[in-house]
Symmetry: C2
């Protein structure tokens, strides 16, 4: 019997979840829920329904896990606790500073309803968090480094597009090779914001816009660009579409730590990702944790969990015997 | 109250465990058990006892977790099931093919005694296994690659030293850069044994030995070297001691997988280790899992577990609140 999944929100992440379900034989997409008119939403999975989110309560017994694909700013803080009253839920809440509060809200709802809620699933938070945690537990004496990129930052791309005179734009976050090399060498460098990442912008100007002024406005923008070495490249809309339509991302979590009676030996643990599609990879992680949510709920567990609380085997479609024989 | 650890076997791994315990404030070394005369064994931890393994039953209520630091060939298959009758145990059993059998034996003993046994802890098996498993669960459509090194292979170094005319020797396993680069690029190459790793030997000859014959014997040795491109470097005993006394190791686990409705996007997940001291890193992983064994036992769990069965948070000395606030 396959695990029945619902998707709430059909943007890049929702579509990624749909694709990931297709790759997992023990799962099926039951329905996509949308705030739009369902007739206007065309999905890829022929067998699945499209329903209005207003009718979601009708699906209470037809869905094993509801995957919430909204945004962290306003959607998930409301949706995840709300829908944990009816469904086992998984979200990718990524506002790091608000995770404790979100955890508490989802935990209360899910416990009251006898459901499981898994929050902040993806790669950061998610797989990067897991790797930070494992590496910290293994090497208590050490230093953590996280580099992001090369990849598209949605927030920084939006910031560029708000600049007067900009028609369209994309921003890549790029780790500085020298900084990465220094960390990998075990030097444990102290790195400023500027030393860790550069920002590469590809900008399409409005007709008649002042390129120099746009460049200056971008490079001096507080919070987003002022603390970085930023490059602004002006290109045509055609070039932007041809060369910068993807949503690649990735990065590295590195822990550099010491062992030995006098801390005489150095060790580098590195976890790195190189992703052609940020939302599809995030979705793939979420779908594996949806399997875990289903199993935990079947065992009678309730409440909010994060990647830290879930034994790895829960993510795999394979049995314990298979995993021990083939992957251990 | 700190977790009281016992160590059985005081070789490189046992000493590594002792060093790792020193780095973890919630643990203390209670005793080292040895088959030798305890008076002849000098340990680093002043507060801990050295006892003969024959007297280990006397420590039944004074030790929370016993860490088994023997070898996988003959020690652990007997010791782990045996001592799981008295203690919560952790071992680093690394004969991959015999893991299912070892698991069954330890599981039976530990369940009967109401103890927890965690087997095959370290980096391979151990952290590499975990990363293979996570990556497989996230990217069901993909290919796995494991590279080892650059590092000292104890088994291959032993094989060199058994060759007639060889006084001493060390062997390094080295991943082939071109193979690693091809894997990282997402090409999913099919790689032969020879294409993945080379073997570098540093050999000290006996006086009057025939260097050409030694080199030929090493390079054509079945199982160990015949399937690899092997380099044999003749050096003096002084050079061997000065430059090749360490026990570094490391390697990479890479999964190259596809996502998207038509598998159109590629993703590379890589976990890599660069270790100055193979036994000390292995010990550091073991000690983190000893914490997990203690906690699982306190929760009333019993039986055999592997890294797949244990939620990450059990490894950390930090609380769930701390982990969510700082590492998620």
């Amino acid at each position: 019997m396959s695990i029945k999944i619902g998707i709430l929100g059909y943007g890049n992440l929702g579509r990624g979840v749909e694709c990931a379900i297709k790759q997992n034989d023990d799962m099926e997409l039951a329905a996509v829920f949308t705030r739009r008119d369902p007739a206007s939403v065309s999905i890829l999975t022929k067998e699945a329904a499209v329903a209005n989110v207003a009718d979601i309560a009708d699906w209470k017994d037809k869905i094993d896990v509801l995957i919430l694909c909204g945004g962290s700013a306003t959607d998930l803080p409301v949706q995840t606790p709300e829908y944990a009253k009816m469904f086992n839920v998984v979200d990718s809440f990524d506002t790091h500073a608000r995770i404790p509060e979100h955890f508490a809200n989802v935990d209360a709802s899910a416990k009251a309803a006898g459901k499981v809620g898994i929050i902040s699933v993806g790669w950061d938070p998610g797989m990067f968090s897991l790797n930070r945690m494992y590496a910290n537990a293994i090497l208590p004496k050490g230093v953590d480094y996280t580099f992001w990129g090369k990849g598209v930052s949605q927030g920084h791309s939006d910031a560029i597009r708000r600049v007067e005179g900009v028609k369209n734009g994309k921003q890549y976050t790029v780790p500085v090779d020298a900084a990465v090399a220094a960390v990998r060498s075990g030097e444990n460098p102290e790195l400023t914001t500027r030393q860790k990442h550069t920002r590469e912008c590809y900008v399409v100007l409005e007709e008649g816009a002042d390129a120099a002024k746009v460049e200056e406005t971008i490079k001096t923008m507080p919070n987003y660009f002022a603390d970085y070495d930023t490059t602004v490249n002006f290109i045509t809309e055609e070039e932007l579409i041809a060369n910068h339509s993807g949503i690649p991302h990735g990065g590295m979590v590195i822990r550099s730590g010491k062992t030995g009676w006098d801390n005489e030996h150095n060790h580098i643990i590195e976890y790195s990702l190189k992703l052609d599609s940020n939302p599809e990879f995030t979705s793939s992680v979420i779908v594996a944790y949806a399997r875990a949510a289903y199993r935990l709920a079947n065992e009678g567990q309730t409440g909010c969990k994060t990647v830290f609380d879930i034994a790895p085997a829960y993510l795999s479609a394979q049995s314990g015997e298979y995993l021990r024989a083939h992957l251990l």
